[in-house]
Amino acid sequence: MAGADDHPLQRGLQRERTSLAWSRTALSVLAVGALLAKQSGSLSLAVAVLALVVAASVGMLVLADRRHRTDHRATAPHEFVPATAENLAATVAVVVLALSGLVVLVT
């Protein structure tokens, strides 16, 4: 599995791309939350959705920084651990946004 291109620089670039993927996801979560909050008729729901997406986005950006620190030389122990809890949290955030969208749709 490890080939000729398993070079520390490749490893660092991979980390950078993963970190960027988290950043992009954080921005997408913020954007959808803002759209939903704007379209929501209820102020309390809008505030709840905004609180959720701000918390989720900040969490993802902190995660992107901490977990995938782009040190091109060292081996970071974090990257050997699958991000189960983090990915599950991201999934839950999207499902909550979808459910909130349905709530806004029917009210």
Binding site: R11, V29, V95, L97
Partner: protein
């Protein structure tokens, strides 16, 4: 190691740790699917909010379809990620996933409904 639920830790202890490039690639693929599901949810909200020339009897189901599709895709994406990570750790071939065909089918249904609504209003 931070305190977590057992089944979450279980994946980290499953099989042997693969080349981290594969773990990272799997993670990025999961996030790409998550962004796709967010786009679907946004499209559903957008249809309801902005496609006001379409009749409400059809617009609401269309918006609902897109939102439900997005939410379901997010859950499927997590399952795909989990099963792929487990397969990587066992050095098994990656499990086939049906995310793309299901999304294609759902979007086709949505497009057909949107077409019907546009023709009805025309």
């Amino acid at each position: 190691m931070s305190r977590r639920w057992h089944w979450i830790d279980r994946l980290a202890e499953h099989g042997t740790t693969p080349d981290p490039r594969f773990t990272l690639a799997n993670e990025r693929t999961f996030l790409a699917w998550i962004r796709t599901s967010l786009a679907l949810v946004a499209a559903g909200i957008g249809v309801e909010a902005f496609a006001t020339d379409l009749p409400a009897w059809g617009r609401r189901p269309l918006a609902g379809l897109l939102i439900v599709l997005g939410g379901t895709l997010a859950l499927s994406a997590f399952q795909r990620w989990y099963r792929s990570e487990a397969a990587l750790r066992r050095s098994d071939p990656l499990p086939s996933n049906h995310l793309a065909p299901v999304i294609a089918l759902g979007l086709s249904l949505g497009a057909a409904l949107a077409l019907v609504l546009v023709l009805v209003e025309w």
